[in-house]
């Protein structure tokens, strides 16, 4: 793979910054499958690889990542799997929907249709446990963070700031305007697969009738 940057972000982690940021997802999948790294963590531009400096020097880990990248074939890229999710946009679950819609000069129904009609992809999980950044929302739609965050949002709440949705995996504070709530449970520690989402997956949203 060509055109990437590779650098240390400490004494125990390497970062790969691919030329095309969408390559982070197939990179992360392949690197995780290799089981050569302790943690493989995508950010918005890089994929970080954690290693044990007791096993290899940081300079050696950097070289190991470079060698691996030389062999990595970007044309092996497969798209992420599709996950179907259901959005409850009733007033109780979508306290900011009307505000966001009117800012965009459209009805709530139109706004929702534009959002669910977008090509949505899970860009990364992070911030708080189970929080998913979902990119690809129709770029013509505008929304910005609330002036003051809410103290408590329900788990599954869907926030919207221009370009992306934020799925709140846990209940807790949150600063994004909320336009609905997923009926699926994103995170359940008692489940065999505790996390519903992973970076690179494509999301298909369906509105539920209420």
């Amino acid at each position: 793979m060509a055109g990437h940057r590779l650098f240390l972000i400490g004494d125990n982690a390497v970062a790969i910054q691919p030329e095309d940021r969408l390559l982070r997802h197939p990179l992360a999948r392949a690197l995780r499958a290799s089981q050569d790294w302790i943690d493989v963590v995508p950010g918005k531009q890089v994929v970080a690889l954690q290693f044990d400096p007791l096993q290899e020097l940081p300079s050696e880990a950097l070289q190991r990542a470079a060698d691996w990248l030389d062999r990595f074939q970007p044309d092996e890229i497969t798209k992420g799997s599709i996950v179907e999710l259901h959005l409850d946009a009733s007033a109780r679950c979508a306290p900011d929907l009307d505000m966001v819609a009117s800012r965009n000069g459209m009805t709530a129904a139109d706004l929702l249709n534009r959002v669910i009609g977008s090509e949505l992809i899970v860009d990364m999980l992070g911030f708080t446990p189970g929080f998913a950044y979902v990119e690809g929302v129709d770029a013509a739609l505008y929304s910005e963070r609330l002036a003051s965050p809410r103290q408590r949002l329900a788990a599954g709440s869907v926030g919207f700031v221009s370009g992306q949705l934020g799925f709140y995996g846990l209940s807790g504070p949150g600063g994004w305007p909320i336009i609905g709530r997923l009926t699926e449970t994103l995170f359940d520690a008692a489940r065999d697969e505790p996390f519903l989402l992973q970076e690179g997956q494509r999301i298909r949203l369906h509105l539920v009738d209420v």
């Binding site: 125990n12 943690d39 918005k44 970080a48 300079s59 992070g126 911030f127 708080t128 992973q198």
Partner: protein, 308 residues
């Protein structure tokens, strides 16, 4: 067999080995903030280094045992009482059924550790029983201890009385020198001096410690696209301070990441308390790995299975 919490202290949690391979789900590693102290306590209790034990920030905890068992207390120096009489830290203590163990408040250092022979029973999640307070799993129902909680103890083997060798007992003061390598945004602090003292504020918990000092002011728009961060990361904040990340920290962040505390020194962060002073000493990444190798070798003479 077990113990009952009479005084829970402040955000006391059950910790064991860190969680690995979960950061891409937004799940931090957790585990003890000062893994050396926890390993020393476990050693005295006849356990492996990362057996589930209690992390007691600022002490102030009291427990009653309903079985005979061996325990050990290490970490920040605090007054320990067993059955009403003063008892030593860094030594195996034989506790009789019904006895109370109380731990006072340390004057320096932040975290006291108490290990129990056999280990404490805790919830497993993704391969680790360490409590993750932000997400609420692991440990005891994913939360800090409360008055009246009962903790179960696994049956331990018989333990002979041991004492931590003096050279392994950390002497904690109010000044810390931590070694660091450059972070990806190190260019923002070209003038960092090893002589400069920074100060820990009251904003400190298992996610991180706020540190004030002559950090550069963030210009508008200096937030970065969210990038992966690991414990030990030093990030500048818009309020002109820095945040040093601990084991429960978030997995990605958008603040400039200027320094990374080396893996060999992250255990010191777990003992820094509000008002303590910190100096940051620069190392190269390969020097940091050598520092880690040396410290691990030194510790393994007494803790043969220890890993940072």
């Amino acid at each position: 067999m077990g113990l009952t919490v009479l005084k829970p202290g402040v955000q006391a949690t059950l910790q064991a080995a860190p969680r690995r391979g979960t950061r891409h789900f937004g799940i931090p590693a957790s585990g003890p903030a000062d893994p050396i102290s926890m390993a020393l306590a476990n050693r005295l209790a006849g356990n492996s280094s990362d057996t589930c034990a209690l992390e007691l920030p600022f002490g102030l905890a009291e427990f009653q045992f309903d079985a005979d068992c061996a325990i050990a207390i290490t970490g920040a120096f605090a007054r320990v009482e067993l059955g009403g009489a003063e008892a030593p830290m860094h030594e195996t203590l034989q506790v009789r059924t019904g006895a109370r163990v109380s731990i006072g408040a340390p004057e320096s250092g932040a975290r006291v550790y108490m290990a129990v022979a056999g280990g404490l029973v805790a919830d497993d999640f993704l391969g680790s029983v360490s409590t993750c307070l932000p997400a609420g799993f692991g440990g005891l129902s994913g939360r800090a201890l409360r008055v009246g909680d009962r903790l179960e103890i696994y049956t331990g083997k018989d333990v002979t009385v041991l004492k931590t060798p003096p050279e392994l007992r950390q002497t904690l003061s109010h000044t810390y020198a931590v070694r660091c390598v450059p972070g990806p945004d190190a260019g923002m602090i070209p003038d960092l001096s090893a002589e400069q003292e920074y100060t820990a504020t009251r904003r400190a918990d298992r996610t991180g410690i706020e540190v004030t000092g002559p950090w550069p002011e963030l210009q508008h728009g200096s937030l970065k696209p969210s990038a992966p961060v690991f414990p030990g990361a030093v990030q500048l904040t818009p309020s002109g301070t820095a945040f040093v990340l601990l084991p429960d920290s978030q997995t990605t962040g958008g603040y400039p990441h200027v320094l990374q505390v080396i893996e060999a020194d992250c255990h010191l962060l777990g003992q820094i308390r509000p008002g303590d002073r910190i100096r940051f000493i620069r190392r190269t990444p390969d020097q940091a790995a050598e520092d880690l190798r040396r410290k691990t070798e030194f510790l393994r003479k007494w803790l043969p299975d220890f890993c940072f």
